[in-house]
Structures are given as C-alpha cells and as structure tokens.
Amino acid sequence: MSLILEGVSKVMNGQTHIHPTDLTLQSGTMNVLLGPTSSGKTSLMRLMAGLDVPNTGKVIWDGNDVTGMRVQDRGVAMVYQQFINYPSMTVYDNIASPMRLLKQSADQIDTAVRKAADLMQLSPYLDRKPLELSGGQQQRCALARALVKDAGLVLLDEPLANLDYKLREELRAEIPKIFEEAGSIFVYATTEPEEALLLGGNTATIWEGRITQFDKTPIVYRQPVDATTARVFSDPPMNFINVQKTGSDLDFGDGQSVSTASGAFAGLADGNYIAGFRPNHLKLEKETSSALSFTGKLMVTEITGSETFVHIDHHGENWVGLVHGVKNLEIGADLNVYLDQSHVYIFAQDGTSVAPASYATAA
C-alpha cells in the first residue's frame, strides 16, 4: 500500500501554503517532515488526511484517487501537539473509542486496548481519567488511541513538543519500535533535526511550503541537495563561508585554499561558491596536515558538561563549533580553528549542491 501526492498544492487567502508537491510514501515506513514553524508541515498533513482539499493535484491511496474524500471515510489517525483525550472517560474507554465507533466486538476491543496500553506503559492506569495522569501519560493515551485504530495512515504532528525533555527522549526511542510492528504509513512532523535523526526512516525537509528533499534520513542529513536543506537539517546551524574558484585553486580567504586539480572539488567551473560545514567538524586542533585554518574572534562559549560550543565571529559571519571536552577559553580573544577538507560542502550561488562533502559520500 502507498500514499501518493501528485502535484498537490494549497492556497489559502491568497497565500500559498503548499507549492505543487509530489511525494510517495510506502506502508511500514516512518516518514519525518522536518522544518521550522509555519514551513507547511501541518498544511501538508491536513492534505494527506483529507482535512483539507488541495487546490490542484491528486491524493492517491492504495491505487484509488481519494482527493476530496472526507477524512471520516479514510483510514486515518492523527495525534496533535496538544494532548486530546475525552476527559470524562477512563483511559480504557479513551483508547477503545475509535474501535467502538467501528462497532467491533468487545473481545476484539479488549485485546487491542490491552496490547496498546502495554506498549505505551499505561496498563496500571486503565481505570483512571486522563486528567489524573501526567502530561506524558496523557499523550501516550492519545498515541495508544491512534494505534488501536489500525489506520493505514497515522499522522503525528509534533506529538512530543509539549513534553519534558527526558520523557521525549524515552518516547522517541519507543515510537519507531511500536510503529515498525504496526505496518502503517507513519508521518511525523517536527522542528528538531535531532528528533528526525533519532526517528530514522525517511525525512522530507520542508521550507516555505516546498519539500526540498525526500530520502532516507541519514542521506538527507549527509548529502543535502541544497543549502536550504542543509540549514533546515542542522542544529546548531550549519556554518557558511564564501569561496572562489579560479584555475585549480579554491580560495577560502585568509590565505587558505584547496587544490581542485583532483579530488572532491575537481570539475568545479570558475566562479563564486558558498562552502558549508557542520559545527561538529570545526576543530580547535589541526588534526590533519591539509586542514584549513581560520582565525576568528571568540564571542561566547557554552559548556554542556562533555562538550563546548564555541561561537566565533569570522569576518562578520557567525560560526558555531562543537568541540569535545570542557574548554575554558578567553572571550573576545582570537581563536584558531581548523576544518578538514573532507567535511566541506560546496553550494552554488543559488544554493544548489555542486560538491557534497567527501566524507559523506565515502561511507
């Protein structure tokens, strides 16, 4: 089974929420929609669910055109950021409610409810009302209800955003396991790159109503097709620097250059480009002899306990480095930083990737 969007778009009040989009999702897959607030994640989910009708294009479910079919008539389950449960019903009845609507037998319902409650660690609370539960348990109740519905398409719209950090970490680890067993198409919207990586599966990066890339999550992360995708899928943000290719020389300024005679940057036409690199690839020691070396002014350091974020002003560009260990460095002083060539992505002036970092393609 599959869900196919063909040229689907949505315009509301003269504003384009979703530009014409093609996307194919297969059963038994986890698909992450990753993008900042208002980038179109929820709009796209509403089109998938049938809560909104697209202005153009078709939605095809299991080979049938379901564009315009009401959400009630499709096998869709949705979980929102806000915990939505029936406050007057017990947890058991909350989880059972979609099955009761489908008039399933009491035995069937009981088996499914207990299995879902078990997976969501709600078994001891089945007789309680949702408001007697913690926030995490309330959201697990909503997730359990989505699960028993046995829907072909399950849409999760930032389901963990309102939960405590640690609880989020635990549920995030559980969710892919639970959904692998269920065999539906899962779509999960998030603003956080780390969440996308932890969920695995496939990721579609979204920016201003457009899917910029859709592929296996590690591929989108390591081989972004353009600078926008790289920016969306990087927390802390990716660092950028303007570079110039002349002859067999790629000039990074500061007297730093890379030969393009062979290797990853061979074949670049002469001209201006944007080089990008991730914070964790910026080093405070020269680990390879060919590493590029830059000097910037240290603005702020942030220590996480095991690592240090260094914020650097490099000729007016803000760079962030994430380095191992606790570094007590002098704020305001010049700091030397190093970057291995294999970690450099090259983008054209319009943002299109022209040379992915060689470390990413080597693996």
């Binding site: 950090y165 640690k166 956080e192 603005m299 996480t304 306990g305 095991s306 606790v326 704020i331």
Partner: protein, 359 residues
Amino acid sequence: MAKITLDNLAHSYLPNPKSEDDFALKELNHDWVDGEAYALLGASGCGKSTLLNIISGLLHPSQGRILFNDKDVTMAPTTERNIAQVFQFPVVYDTMTVRENLAFPLRNRGADPAYIKERVQQIAAMIGMEDTLNRKARGLTADAKQKISLGRGMVREDVNALLFDEPLTVIDPHMKWELRTQLKSLHHQFGHTMIYVTHDQTEALTFADKVVVMYDGRVVQMGTPQELFEKPAHTFVGYFIGSPGMNVLDAEVKGDTAIIGGNQIALGAGFGSPKGKVELGVRPEFTSLSAGDAGLPVTIKRVEDVGRHKIVRADYQGTPINVLVGEGENISPDMNRVVFDTAGVNVYSDSWRVAPQAA
C-alpha cells in the same frame, strides 16, 4: 544586583503538612551568589517552579526565610522585590508598539527619556528588532512577541535579579540558539544575577554557571556542567543530564573491583564496601565496544545514527547499556563486549555517589 539567601526554606501546598512527603519543596539552605547565572533543572513537578515563585514573591513559603542582600523579603510582595521576570508565554501589550513595550518598565519608574531612548535602542539591537520598533505588537509571530518579553525583562539595569521561567519553550530551534547566546553574552556584559527555570538540559547547561538539579522537591546536586557530567551526585542526575543518560548497573563492589552479573571489572580506585543498594554509573561517553576478551558480553539491539555520533543500544543480561560511537567509526560484527573507561565509572550506594578513596 543582589545575593539571594534561602534560609531553612520549605513549602507545602497543604495547610498542615505532617511528613516530609507533604512538602513540594523540601528544606533548603543556600546562597545564590550576586552576579551568577543559575539554572533550575528538573522534570515537571520537581519543585522548581515552586522555588522560583517563592523567590519572585508570588508564593509565601510555609517555612523559613528568603533574603535579598541579607534583607528579609519573605513576606514582601513581588512589586517590592525589584526583579524582572520572563515567562513561558509572551506577555506583550498588543496595542503598544514594540518600542513602547520595551520602554514600559523604564517609563513606569520615571526614567529620563533620553536614557530610555538609548537603552531601548540597545535592547532592540540585541533581540534583532531594530527594524520593527515602530510597529504595533499585534499580529507579530509568537517568536517575535517572546523576544519582546525577553527584551523587556532585560531593559532595566537596576534589578536585583532576572528570573526566567521556561522562556524559550515556544521558540523555534534555530532562534533558540540565537536568543540563548544573546542572553549569555548579556550576562557576561552586565553581570546580572539570573535564575533560569527549565526542563531542557541543553538550555540549562549552556546558559548557567551553576546548574541546580531538582528531583522530588529536593536539590540533588548543584554544580558546574562539568561536575554534573563527570560526577553526578545522584543516579537521577546521571539519568537526567546527558542524552542518553548514564548507564546504571546493579553491582557488588569490594575495594577496587566490581562484580556485575558474574563478570568482574576493575574500578581504577578503591571504594571500600559500600552499604545498601550498590550500583555502578557509567555515561555512554565513557563506554566503548570491543572485540577483545575484556568487559561485559552484550547483545547489540539497535544502532541509531544521530549524525555526529551513533548511539548503540546494547543489552547486558536484561539491563540496557548505551554506547556512543563516533561518526566515522565502524562497528564490526565481532564487537560483542562493552568496556568502561575507569575515569568515568561512578559508584552509588542507595542512589547517592560514593567518593573514591584517596590512593
């Protein structure tokens, strides 16, 4: 700016608390040093907001005193405490312009107009809203409104303390970076006493000089991010800080060796014979996979690629052990043992850390 003293402080929401369990905030004695940045970190219901509300004067404690620069303010209302507060959701006057919103606390106190103008400009530059100063707050995004709230919180230079209650919850991840960095450099510049409540460890650790970890109404540890990482005083701190948190394994400890599920490992230091329930705590950062004969035999359940490293989910006799492996490192199929770096092994007795004996 002020030193803040918590003297014998405790709070119960019940009228006649009987046992310790009845207290949402258990007895606490502490000095918050003038000019330092603190984070109160813990899960929902741990007592961190109760403590913040006592400091701000929204709540009067059922026991003990609170002092600002040695002056008792326990019963003083918020308005007399001379503090600035920023909350989880933006508090902005919609009908006022951004400029008027930022100037409000200064105007209220009758500050000199020329000073107000200059100070508002400074703050606007910091929150990146110089271009929107003359527009009405109505219709701005939640992000922008929260930036105004943060700016207004910081506009006065003469406050005793700045209190933040989950201020970045509604902000997008990218903007979080910017605002947190700005708060940090502002603290560096002006040296305000800052207290920042959050459940997000990254925010707490990166923002604060000292992080106060709360659990079940109690402060379980107060320390620098490095101390919390390397020497968690309580297994809760080990679990709560770090992603994933510290691995905790039941063990028998005798001197400088531990026996875990029948396998013996060296501890690198002596611990005597700890009493009660004895556990080892080892962070995933101090744990590695090995193809050799040393360490604990494990089954690898799952490998998660999170970009800059991989999280290996291993199982040792039913106990999960998480291992961090670098981005470029390979995991070969014969790596079926987990080895601990002794520098990162902590011993716990009834959940509290046991200090190693001096060599």
